[in-house]
């Protein structure tokens, strides 16, 4: 992974001390909040495999209710990932506990790529910083917007 991307990512992740709005726009994200069908293992198994990128959040991508969930949304946004399924665990107590049990992971947010559990906010952040996320997205046929951005810069 290029040093440029890594440094740029590191810059992003020094959480600044600015103020202002959340800066979220409406995206093509399917807010799949309800209809998750509770928290049964078979249902969750189908749920995480239904879409290439699946996230379980507190709140919605438009309005995250937790800083860590917001960080996941912002990282995906930075990579230009718009087509992902987001489930709001605050809408569904069964889902909230069910996904923790299913993933064997005690906290929310949780990220799945291609039906495979990736981790929570810290791990996605790390993957973003070290370039792994670009590679993982590539495997799913998703081209990270960060690559395009870099190309634009280089061609100037």
């Amino acid at each position: 992974m290029s040093g440029t991307l890594r440094r740029a990512a590191a810059a992003l992740l020094r959480w600044g001390r600015g103020s202002g709005g959340v800066g979220l726009q409406g995206t093509g994200v399917r807010a799949a909040g309800s209809g998750a069908g509770g928290g049964q293992a078979e249902q969750l198994d189908a749920l995480v495999k239904k879409d290439k990128v699946v996230v379980f959040l507190k709140g919605t991508p438009e309005q995250p209710q937790c800083g860590f969930s917001n960080a996941v949304v912002q990282i995906l946004r930075l990579h230009g990932v718009r087509d992902y399924a987001a489930y709001n665990v605050l809408d569904d107590p069964d889902l909230r506990q069910g996904i923790k049990d299913y993933s064997n992971w005690p906290t929310i947010p949780q990220v799945y790529l291609n039906g495979e559990f990736v981790g929570g906010c810290d791990i996605l952040l790390q993957m973003h910083q070290n370039g792994d996320l670009v590679e993982e997205l590539k495997k799913l046929g998703i081209r990270s917007a960060l690559l395009d951005e870099k190309q634009d810069q280089d061609s100037k």
């Binding site: 040093g3 440029t4 440094r7 740029a8 990512a9 810059a11 992003l12 992740l13 020094r14 959480w15 600044g16 001390r17 600015g18 103020s19 202002g20 709005g21 959340v22 800066g23 507190k58 709140g59 995250p64 209710q65 937790c66 800083g67 860590f68 969930s69 917001n70 960080a71 912002q74 930075l78 064997n104 992971w105 005690p106 906290t107 559990f117 990736v118 981790g119 929570g120 906010c121 810290d122 791990i123 952040l125 790390q126 993957m127 951005e149 870099k150 810069q153 280089d154 100037k156």
Partner: protein, 134 residues
């Protein structure tokens, strides 16, 4: 080769992500924090163990022990991927995570990785509750 424009854009993005600085802990060590430290020390023999109670940045009563950040540097992490390292820490702290601890941010590094980057990250600001976001 690093374009200043790109960096500025990313930094401004980070600024938008972060609505306010996280609050630091009160400085006193509570019983939960002490237990977390003891369990991690025993299980992982860490070279470095930095533990921060970030609860005061969240919509919980003063003196709470609900939100923590931990940086663990241990040679035990050699050969383990991030998921395995995090799971090991979760396992070590399973009682706390099933009980009082609501959030645990983890940086798990090998000694070599810590030498390359010994910075402890800052958590994003809380967006939940209504005490702090008002």
């Amino acid at each position: 080769m690093l374009s200043g424009q790109l960096v500025r854009r990313l930094v401004s993005m980070a600024t938008r992500v972060c609505l306010s600085p996280g609050s630091a802990g009160s400085g006193t060590v509570g019983p939960v924090e002490a237990t977390i430290r003891a369990k991690l020390e025993q299980a992982l023999s860490p070279e470095v163990l930095e533990l921060r109670n970030e609860s005061s940045g969240h919509a919980v009563p003063p003196g709470s022990e609900t939100h923590f950040r931990v940086a663990v540097v241990s040679s035990r992490f050699e050969g383990m991927n991030l998921l395995q390292r995090h799971r090991l820490i979760h396992e070590t702290l399973s009682e706390e995570l099933a009980g009082p601890v609501h959030a645990l941010a983890i940086q798990a590094r090998t000694p070599t990785q810590w030498k390359e980057n010994s910075q402890m990250d800052t958590s994003p600001p809380c967006l939940g509750g209504n005490k702090k976001t008002r």
